[in-house]
Symmetry: C2
Subunit: 635 residues, 2 copies
């Protein structure tokens, strides 16, 4: 392997660069003072890392920020954002006016690959970005060969999701993943050692990482990145920084989220040799900075174009570049034949996998139970980067963040587990929803009727609770017809979805239809009389409701029955025609209160027992349901 160390180091201009870093510190402080929000300690302590990375390593094309082979930079510690905005200014991607108006409604910022927020999510996401790189690199014969850089904090490494995700990075040996750790040894409340005695070297060696520890300065950071780029293993560069560098709060936790006074800022600027005026930078600094990035980007972009032209089959890469990541299921044919919904779902998934090569996904050790294995493909591994089945292990949290990272690259990734375990994924699902990523989650074993497992394996509040997440579409089909409709919708839209399946429902109905999913709510039992009630339900329990409707007819009560395969698709409720409406669900009644005040649901935890015992216990036998409905009608 070529050692670029000496050559690249020759290019460093330490006098200019130290001035540049101080310039970056200065405008970051100005931004924070101006918006009254931000972390001055990080701005002062972390500037060298971001500066060196962007000036000497990040391959980006300033004429095409969407350049598909750009290096990815994931800012996992959002409070370092002013530094990234400063880089944007250095690169002429933002103006001083923009900097003054950041943190305002709707502000969009160049070079931000990922909208963080919850600690640890950026690290999880970066593992998905780095995994994608391995797959894409093989798939395109080396055409795609970007690096994934992530800047994280040492407090952040206390988050469980970071262990989960990085353990996978080590297992898959994602050696183009480079973590820059801002090791300032201070968290908001305390010094870091108050809450952790972890030996970082051993921690990362235990999961197959290359560990480089350095004091923070431009040369060290540059050398470490060069070495990391050539590593045969994923790398963490532990950069020993001084939070609040040059301020009176140096190395203390007191500057975290504190806004410095004007006097304090002036004092710091003087110490750093900066002009006192706000938002002032040295022209030679930013010219040199921008030129370096621009020139490197041109070389990389040109080299990519050349390789691209030589590529024989451009189908796949063109799809990625043009974001063609929807898929039509119009030719799908499925043999029903008494299979349960999980098996049918697997057949559809397998059909899609053969016809749409952006589908890739896996399970948190439940692929055999959730039925989500892609049978025509192998497991992704450190020796088989074209595997399209991802074994995440029992790491729910990381799995969600990792598929978010894959979606950022253009895949339509999925992960499966039991519905009750979705609680562990909630922070990542929220990220999917906020970034509106084309991921989907398959959650099976969706009600208290599941016979196996512990009480905590039985979902009650998970369905309405997922439904609450903005942007997220939650699908709960009753039968094959609706299941197909769900998959059509999921692959028609490039947005986050959950598909909720029962453990073993085998029903199929003549009255259901795939197109009902797009409507959100539709009639599955018609009624021609004038005087009737509406019954609303979905999923497995719709079968019971249909039977109850039959029984009610026998005692003279007519009803229409509606299925609700996707609540967020509901446009209006005029089809309820103002009639008395009763909703029935095996989950919390809150699930349906937006549709009607009359809901029969379950507000307690699950129980152990056989399906029959559980139906009895929760009052979901036909008889009990009927009497509850009659009670509500007489209210």
């Amino acid at each position: 392997m070529l050692n670029l160390g000496n050559k690249e180091n020759e290019l460093l201009n330490l006098d200019l660069d130290n001035k540049g870093v101080n310039n970056l510190r200065g405008i970051a402080l100005d931004m924070i003072a101006n918006s009254l929000s931000g972390d001055g300690g990080i701005a002062l302590g972390t500037a060298e890392i971001i500066y060196t990375l962007f000036k000497y390593h990040m391959n980006i094309d300033l004429d095409n920020l969407d350049f598909i082979n750009r290096d990815r930079f994931i800012l996992s510690i959002g409070h370092a954002a002013p530094l990234l905005y400063g880089i944007d200014y250095f690169l002429d991607l933002l103006t001083i006016d923009d900097l003054k108006n950041l943190k305002r409604i709707g502000s969009k910022i160049p070079l931000v690959e990922f909208s963080g927020g919850l600690f640890g999510q950026g690290i999880g996401t970066s593992v998905g970005v780095a995994l994608s790189r391995e797959y894409l690199n093989k798939k395109t014969n080396g055409l795609l060969d970007y690096y994934t850089y992530v800047l994280c904090g040492d407090g952040e490494l206390e988050e469980g999701i970071t262990y989960e995700a990085l353990s996978l990075a080590g297992t898959w040996n994602l050696n183009k993943l480079i973590i820059l750790l801002d090791s300032n040894e201070v968290t908001l409340d305390n010094s870091l050692k108050t809450t952790t005695i972890e030996d970082i070297q051993k921690r990362f060696e235990s999961i197959n990482f290359n560990v480089i520890e350095i004091e923070s300065n431009i040369k060290n950071i540059n050398d470490a990145i060069i070495s990391a780029k050539n590593s045969s293993r994923p790398t963490i560069i532990v950069v020993k920084t001084k939070i609040g560098y040059s301020s009176n709060y140096e190395r203390s936790n007191l500057l975290h989220n504190k806004i410095l006074t004007n006097e304090e800022i002036l004092e710091i600027k003087e110490k750093l040799g900066l002009l006192p005026s706000n938002f002032t930078v040295n022209k030679d600094v930013i010219e040199d900075f921008r030129n370096k990035v621009l020139e490197r980007g041109k070389v990389v972009s040109l080299s990519f174009q050349k390789k691209y032209q030589k590529l024989e089959d451009k189908t796949f890469i063109d799809k990625l570049i043009n974001h063609e990541n929807t898929f039509s299921l119009k030719n799908l044919e499925i043999d029903y034949n008494e299979k349960d919904l999980r098996d049918l779902s697997q057949e559809i998934l397998n059909y899609i996998s053969l016809n749409f090569d952006l589908l890739i996904g896996g399970s948190t050790d439940l692929s055999s139970s959730c039925k989500t294995y892609l049978n025509n493909y192998e497991l992704f591994s450190n020796s088989n980067q074209l595997g399209r089945n991802i074994a995440f292990g029992i790491r729910e949290e990381a799995s969600g963040a990792i598929i978010n990272g894959m979606a950022l690259l253009g895949f339509r990734p999925f992960v499966s587990t039991f519905l009750a375990f979705s609680d562990y994924m909630r922070p990542s699902i929220r990220e999917s929803a906020m970034m509106n990523l084309g991921v989907f989650y398959i959650f099976t074993h969706d009600s208290v009727l599941v016979e196996e497992g512990e009480i905590l394996h039985k979902p009650i509040e998970q369905l309405p609770s997922l439904e609450l997440i903005p942007n997220l579409k939650v699908y709960r089909p009753f039968d094959l017809n609706e299941l197909i409709g769900c998959y059509i919708e999921i692959f028609k839209n490039n947005s986050p979805s959950c598909l909720i399946l029962p453990k073993d429902n085998k029903n199929i109905s003549l009255n259901t239809k795939s197109s009902g999913v797009e409507l959100g709510i539709y009639e599955v039992l018609k009624n021609e009389t004038e005087d009737y009630i509406n019954l609303i339900s979905n999923g497995e329990e719709l079968e019971i409701v249909l039977n109850v409707a039959k029984n009610l007819k026998e005692i003279g009560i007519d009803s229409k029955v509606f299925s609700v395969p996707c609540k967020k698709n509901i446009d209006n409720l005029s089809l309820l025609n103002g009639k008395k409406t009763i909703a029935i669900t095996l989950s919390s009644p809150e699930y349906f209160y937006d549709l009607t005040q009359n809901v029969i649901g379950i507000s307690t935890f699950g129980e152990l027992g056989t399906k029959e015992e559980l139906l009895e216990y929760f009052g979901f036998t036909e008889q009990v349901l009927q009497s509850k409905i009659l009670e509500l009608l007489n209210k």
Copy 2:
């Protein structure tokens, strides 16, 4: 330190014990076959661990299973439960008939300290139990000196929460915590090495653990436990087991959750030298087993009684033994003086801490922001076990599980963080709720009006989503009067609660009252006319609603305004008097749909901006709210 190794080993009766382990395997298989649910692989592979632990080490008092100084055993892998039930049978705590009827509705099982379900929760909980032991040991001058044993799986150690919790165990040096790792190297989908290459020795050394690795047999396990008991650090015993031992599925993942056929069970029983008949054990085995446990328990119980009698001040320990863990706030006096709710909350917490010594808690690195530090006490640490402030670090998941463990010991523990981060705690909160533990969570920064931070720091769906969890009471006070009411309720009931606070609301109203919290909903603006509407709200936005009510009155619309400080306390809605009712919330509208179909809420993610900009953006200015209300009235 006394080495008990040789002495205790002399007591082993390996012939009898090997027969005993096989007996345990046999009845565990019978239980699984009988209930058609369970994990035969674990039953066969893990029996030696549980058998040896209970027969030779666990100190329990068979005449008083609630014995406060008993050793605690946390079964973190629920699928090993049939083995624990088998031990119950060996100890005459369950009958054969009980064993045949396990996994049925409402079944209660002796020796179960903890109801697991989600992987990793047991480990987190055990750290709370072990932390409590350190505190209690100091507090009672050594009277309480139990061990905490936890049995976990190697797949389970992939869960992020296990890293978080065990890192704290190492930091706090909880050396009476002993983890028994069932290292079978197989998970449900794959062999373990498919999903992890982690070096377990290095992983645990990096967090200050004593690591012992052994092949599974009774003598090795016994020796390892003896050594662990004498360790100056927390210990993990890596027991190399053979999942599915003696079956045709030995060391394969195929037996996980598979039910063996009768023929297969008979074959195994023959191999193990067992009688073919179901639920049959050797009398000498269980007699010897029970006698050992009984005698040891008597000695321990007697020694405890002696020490207890000598204890001068029994107040604290008696409170624990008698579960006196509620507290009245009748003497509370708080000086309002324009403080915001977070500050007032801290004053109340501090008042309680001085008068109720079962209060102990901390924050996930946000005690300074959430205002939850107990000023008269120090940090809990490996050198200060009487510290009542717990610095959990940035480990939301573990914090919840750890306070669950402390509540199991009788504490009233709490943890604080921002409301948006509660997503990370959801699995532990669900555990709190399912076990009905007296923990409470303090979640601040409770709406999109928070100016700082990223979009993901701004809660939208968290409030209704927590409200969905069965058993969990969610309190959201408007002002000091209601805040006091919330604390009164939290400490009156020994059950799980969330206290939701704004970032900086300073309002106080003459019309609010503490007793309103118990009612759940109550009037804060009266109206004497006949024709009026109801307006419902809570928390910070109630202030805006009160202003809107004033404005409405000016244009001739009378209204009553209701505060809802605790939804789950609402008994009935007759006080709404059948009038048109409109609810207003800064969270998802689903939060109030059970009370009325007319809800004004927010169904999108937060945004960045100043408080004024955000009120404008989300339509929560008085003017816009008024016009939305008028629109709903005309509907």
